[in-house]
Amino acid sequence: MSDTRSHPDGPRPDDDDGRQVWLTPPESMQHSLFIAAGVLATVIASYVGLVAIPNWQVNRLEPVMLDNGETYPAERSELAQKGKDVYIDLGCVYCHSQQVRQNDFGGDLSRGWGMRSSVPLDYTREETPVLGTMRTGPDLRNIGGRQPSRQWHYLHLYNPRITSPGSTMPPFRFLFDTVPIEGRTNVPVGRVDMPEEHSVPGHYVVATDRARALVEYLLSLDHDQTLPENANRGTDPEQVDR
């Protein structure tokens, strides 16, 4: 080392801030008002551009009438809405997206995750859209259409490796109860059809209310409908010129 110092982090106690070391900066940058105004202007501009205007644009979208006479997007049932809360509090979004990407952009459509890509209209009724940014697991935007079996979902949530060997999805056994079979005359609501080798001897495995709601929500995820022309009012990323 060229200059031997008493301290590895520089001279001490002589930490001469604001002396010798610093050159004089441009005049304009000496004024707090000038900097404050500039700084605030930049962030407010981006707020308007990335929050306010897109919000205005998608808020103009309205549910549409489909050819079959149904309104789209349909309102979720109360149970499915509860299920969405479960989806949110268990953080499924950290492994699953809910958006089918544009045609020819990624393998979404060819993987069968949807018949068309997702558009803003699909989410108009959602207070919290869970678009997601991660695909440790498959996209779930249309899982209700792809996998309509309640029992399959129960089994999969109870232990993903029963339905999907090699899965790294965590088991959600805490969403299920085990009820002794002995002394029961009726089969409990939400009973899961456990395969022999996974059954709990002497017990029914029963989906809790939360599991039932969650699965109801998953089944409601079906957004493949063909939309009428102009339904998107210029917000469809694939139809730029309309």
Partner: protein, 478 residues
């Protein structure tokens, strides 16, 4: 200003007074930060392990992956990085403005309440109260508390700057001044729009990524750059290469970083122009990034040998170089051709850690190595332990990034090919996820070493010991 003996003496006295005023609030913020660093580290390790071993701690709802992961992110962001960052910010602004830290009692109260807010938010996430809005998972009532606290910090820092007692304003001060205006606005507006009735549908997603990207962009980045601009010249004892480059760097960052966030939604169901704006802004980010890189590099040239001796310089230079790397990577990732592969994969996770860890966290470590001895009047107790801290975290980070970047890229390529069954992709990523857990273990060791060093220093300070220890030398002939 003359350099007469009396002037120097007077300056030394004024610095002492400033450090004395900063002592309690800054040490409290930093000590709390280190606590949250350890807390977040444990959560990080659990989350990482679960990704390859899903049976691990799977029987309790509060430890499920989808809760531990956001709990990790939020303790690191709002606990470790924000609290420590505020400590650095308060101290730097006071030192550079040459005035004492104002509102000291309020700032300590802020620190105390802050800890409770982060704790409450974390417990809420683990108990099922998460909002699942990325980077804003704390329940709204916790966000309301944090928002109010940010305003107090802003007031203290603005007051420091306005009362400044120097003829000119240094680059770092612009960044710090920027940060305390940007972030409270961002945090409050972001929360109001998302948790209020302001936005629904996909507009909430654009608001989400406007917010989340800007937490790094106009909160941690300006603090990190302010620290780098201060400590690099300080430790090597020469002025910054060019003021005009810094000016250009500052204003282009202010102009463009804000707009880049929507590149997190490329290919998704949002109007195309919103995606394009995000991509263009990401490209424009090359200007501030290259400007800062040149400026720092030209300042360092000829002084790289000092890296061997100064803990501060080691960590800060590692951080500053990572800033360049993460920004260049971020800009390239925003290109549609790259994004098509990397979006939705572990590649993005690697990228996020390059920003929040290799850049921000390393710069915060470096700053603490400089600031804490000046506040406590104690030297660090062990050179070898500081070296161990540097190498475990540095190598751990490199391994983390390399493993997940490659693994994520492969994952992305496989996802594009519909002939490959999904489960095959899941299996292919496993070795890379294991490499991440290994890296996480290395980094955790580093964090515990660092916590020991800080803890020991604070203990000696509190018990009035260890005053005449000499500073540890890291390299060379000791």
């Amino acid at each position: 200003m003359g350099d007469s003996e009396t002037d120097l003496e007077r300056d030394a006295q004024s610095r002492k007074a400033i450090d004395a005023s900063a002592r309690l609030p800054v040490v409290f913020m930093m000590a709390s930060g280190v606590f949250w660093l350890l807390f977040g580290t444990v959560l990080a390790f659990i989350a990482s392990f679960k990704l390859h071993s899903p049976w691990f701690l799977a029987d309790q709802a509060w430890l499920t992956f989808g809760r531990v992961r956001p709990a990790h992110l939020n303790t690191m962001i709002y606990g470790w990085a924000s609290m420590t960052g505020i400590g650095v910010l308060l101290w730097l602004q006071a030192r550079l403005s040459r005035v004492r830290v104002p509102l000291r009692k309020s700032l300590i109260a802020v620190g105390v309440v802050w800890n409770f807010a982060v704790l409450a938010g974390t417990v809420a996430i683990l108990a099922g109260g998460s909002t699942s809005v990325e980077w804003l998972e704390f329940p709204p009532w916790v966000a309301a508390i944090l928002g109010a606290l940010f305003v107090v910090v802003m007031a203290a820092s603005v007051l420091t700057f306005v009362r400044r007692n120097v003829e000119h304003v240094y680059v770092s001060q612009w960044y710090l001044f920027g940060a305390v205006f940007w972030f409270p606005f961002l945090y409050i507006a972001g929360n109001l729009v998302i948790h209020g009735t302001g936005a629904s549908g996909v507009a909430e997603a654009t608001a989400n990524w406007w917010y989340a990207h800007n937490v790094l962009g106009i909160w941690f980045t300006p603090i990190g750059l302010a620290a780098a601009y201060y400590f690099i010249p300080k430790v090597i004892g020469r002025p910054i290469h060019s003021y005009y480059l810094s000016l250009l760097g500052f204003w282009t960052l202010a102009l463009f970083y804000n707009w880049a966030g929507t590149h997190h939604l490329i290919g998704g169901p949002i109007p195309l122009w919103v995606q394009t704006v995000g991509i263009v802004a990401s490209m424009m980010m090359f200007i501030p990034v290259i400007t800062v890189a040149i400026n720092h590099h030209m300042t360092m040239v000829g002084h790289f040998d000092k890296l061997e001796y100064s803990p501060t310089l080691r960590f800060i230079v590692f951080g500053a170089m990572s800033y360049t790397l993460v920004s260049v990577q971020g800009s390239l990732t925003a290109l549609r051709v790259v994004n098509e592969t990397t979006h939705f994969t572990h590649y993005t996770i690697a990228h996020a850690h390059l920003g929040m860890y290799a850049f921000v966290t390393m710069v915060l470590f470096g700053s603490m190595y400089y600031i804490l001895p000046r506040l406590t009047g104690r030297e660090w107790s062990s050179g070898p332990l500081i070296r161990a801290h540097f190498w475990t975290t540095g190598l751990g980070m490199v391994l983390y990034w390399v493993g997940l970047t490659i693994g994520g890229w492969i994952q992305g390529q496989m996802l594009k090919n519909p002939d490959i069954a999904f489960i095959e992709i899941v299996q292919t990523t496993l070795p890379y996820l294991w490499s991440r857990s290994f890296a996480a273990a290395l980094m955790s060791v580093g964090h515990f070493i660092f916590a020991y060093l800080v803890g020991r220093m604070l203990y000696e300070w509190a018990t009035d010991r260890g005053k005449d220890r000499l500073p540890p030398m890291l390299g060379g002939d000791q």
